[in-house]
């Protein structure tokens, strides 16, 4: 049906007056580009509602935003290494409670496998290892004292501060001992953790070798 266009002359198939242009009038320009990103508005928007309820909800919203960032559900991305280790960063780290889901409600594949946790632990250990190597010269004596006191495979408390939650560490510590096949991996871990000069299980003569590591958990950390 397209067919003839009136032998070269433009002829509309509909009544042009219906659209609002009289015959022969100049038609508006064809738009050749997308509309502007911030078009001018003829009418300004109505001001926002104000009131007690609105103010309260606003404060709530901002508070919730801050709170969510501190909850254990907020998964931090591991930050890129900064060129200089800032002293103040250690003391500005927010303490986060560790959250353990109810495994009974979740598919079994959700549980972190022992191997993965090992990887996690060694990764964390690496990070903290690098962190402490710079402060070692400053706190050598203090560290010796504390490791003496602990007398087990635990790291010093300064390193505990840097970890996300010491609870998870203790949990992993439990799993370490229970896992039969972990000996080899434990050895790997030890190797990887040798970034600093200190062997993890520093002990004097007469101390038990890591036997009651778990029993010492209730001691207050300093």
């Amino acid at each position: 049906m397209a067919g003839n266009k009136g032998r070269g002359r433009a002829a509309y198939t509909f009544n042009i007056e219906a659209v609002g242009f009289s015959r022969g009038e100049k038609l508006p320009d064809v738009v050749l580009k997308p509309p502007p990103l911030f078009p001018d508005t003829d009418y300004k928007p109505v001001p926002l509602r104000t009131g007690e309820g609105e103010d309260y909800m606003l404060a709530l919203k901002q508070e919730l935003r801050e709170t969510m960032k501190r909850m254990p559900y907020f998964m931090e991305t591991p930050e890129e290494k900064q060129d200089i280790e800032r002293y103040s960063k250690r003391y500005m780290k927010v303490y986060k409670e560790e959250w353990v889901p109810d495994w009974r409600r979740l598919p079994r594949e959700m549980m972190p496998t022992k191997k993965c946790k090992k990887g996690h632990k060694s990764k964390k250990a690496k990070v903290t290892g690098q962190g402490t190597s710079l402060t070692n010269p400053a706190d050598v004596l203090k560290k010796i004292e504390e490791l003496e006191k602990r007398g087990d495979g635990e790291k010093s408390d300064e390193e505990n501060e840097e970890k996300e939650g010491s609870k998870e560490k203790s949990k992993e510590g439990d799993d370490d001992e229970e896992d039969d096949a972990a000996e080899q991996e434990e050895y790997d871990e030890e190797e990887q953790e040798e970034e600093n000069d200190y062997i993890n299980s520093y002990f004097e003569d007469g101390d038990d070798f890591g036997a009651d590591s778990d029993d010492n958990m209730d001691e207050a950390t300093y």
Partner: protein, 574 residues
Amino acid sequence: MEQPRAKTGWTEVTEPGPGRPGFGASDRRPRAAALRLLSTMTQAEIKLCSLLLQEHFGEIVEKIGVHLIRTGSQPLRVIAHDTGTSLDQVKKALCVLIQHNLVIYQVHKRGVVEYEAQCSRVLRMLRYPRYIYTAKTLYSDTGELIVEELLLNGKMTMSAVVKKVADRLTETMEDGKTMDYAEVSNTFVRLADTHFVQRCPFVPATENSDPGPPPPAPTLVINEKDMYLVPKLSLIGKGKRRRSSDEDATGEPKAKRPKHTADNKEPIPDDGIYWQANLDRFHQHFRDQGIVSAVANRMDQTSSEIVRTMLRMSEITTPSNAPFTQPLSSNEIFRSLPVGYNISKQVLDQYLTLLADDPLEFVGKSGDSGGGMYVINLHKALGSLATATLESVVQERFGSRCARIFRLVLQKKHLEQKQVEDFAMIPAKEAKDMLYKMLSENFISLQEIPKTPDHAPSRTFYLYTVNILSAARMLLHRCYKSIANLIERRQFETKENKRLLEKSQRVEAIIASMQATGAEEAQLQEIEEMITAPERQQLETLKRNVNKLDASEIQVDETIFLLESYIESTMKRQ
């Protein structure tokens, strides 16, 4: 143009591919292009979900969540492979998302567990302040904190909620006073009775003699009557302040909190019984609020009170998505009016007749027994509210003459060009201009009625009409885009001034610690001057802008609620 909302369906497109034998889970991955057609989510919604997840849970959870929203239901390993994230992190992210009811899992054949994201539930995160504030107005601070804890943690046991809320309330009380667990429990029970909190589906207790390996994932069940059943707990205790805790070492910095607290050793009495906030009930409340305030605006206070009473009586008897409430007799309504209201029966009858005769049809008369049976037309009310929203938007964007044309077309349903000019009493040229403007933005649509079978344009009627459902959808889509823009702008503003914000926080911390150790006024003054006057100005401007953007988000969300309710109600009737 808005993308089509196709019905959801994740079809398996098996793609053997070159050299890929076997029946691994990865083979069942459909082509990405096919999925984009099947997805119900528009790009605007996905963008908004991404921003919300990132703000609340961080980038890793955002990546996993958005991937699931885009691609539908997928098993664990495929997610890890497609997003390039380690399995460990994917597991953790999924745990967080499942905990917050944003992702559900299902066991498919051959024991494969697949995870599916609930996009609409993610968008609810915008509404958290409104839920919490509503709980505050209904059940005061205790209710407010209970709902807040449930929303922040996804699901919790009752004992955990009570303890946490008691502790928080005790913090705010005067020295020496504590909050009793019993009081918090009472409020919790009231919230459960009015259905604002509900029990989560739970793992059914299986007998020990169940043979065979355990299933890959538990099947969670809940039945209607158990949903609001509060377990019999005797929670005795009082809230504790953080400062005056019983542990040995007091005054420790937060980071060195001891690993175990005494409570860990006690058995939890309601172990496994989790509660969550019942968002549908809150939505019902918001809807009722909207209707009542609409009646108050249109008529007067007394009418709105009558409507409020009728809605309150129907709360439990009418399901939330019914088109109208159960019929209520005038006598019943009279008896249930709030105590302070002294209107006589006749006056009540007059009001009811007025309401029923109103063209908006919020209230309808369904019979004459019992002094007259009246219902509230919920669906019609939502429709009126949605329409009012559309009218308001047209008025504010295009002016009041455009709004006049819009209302005209709404009222007359279908109008020709000429008729519009005549009825609206607006000159032809301007009327055309306005109609085309509204047409280009999809508030108005064109209906063709051919006179002849060849659909020749010169012999076809073109009628302007307003399709409320599609206009509402278009507006909803714009709202999602608006909020995404607002959030992005807010993040941009905050990032621009990050250095200044950090500086001001440090200064505040210094001042606070100095005040605690009793510093002189002069010293405090000196520290305060570390922030120069122009910097202070900048901070003021930043705060004002962020507040405005936040407040806008909250108010756009109210429009979203209205439109979504209307669309949902309409879809259910079809």
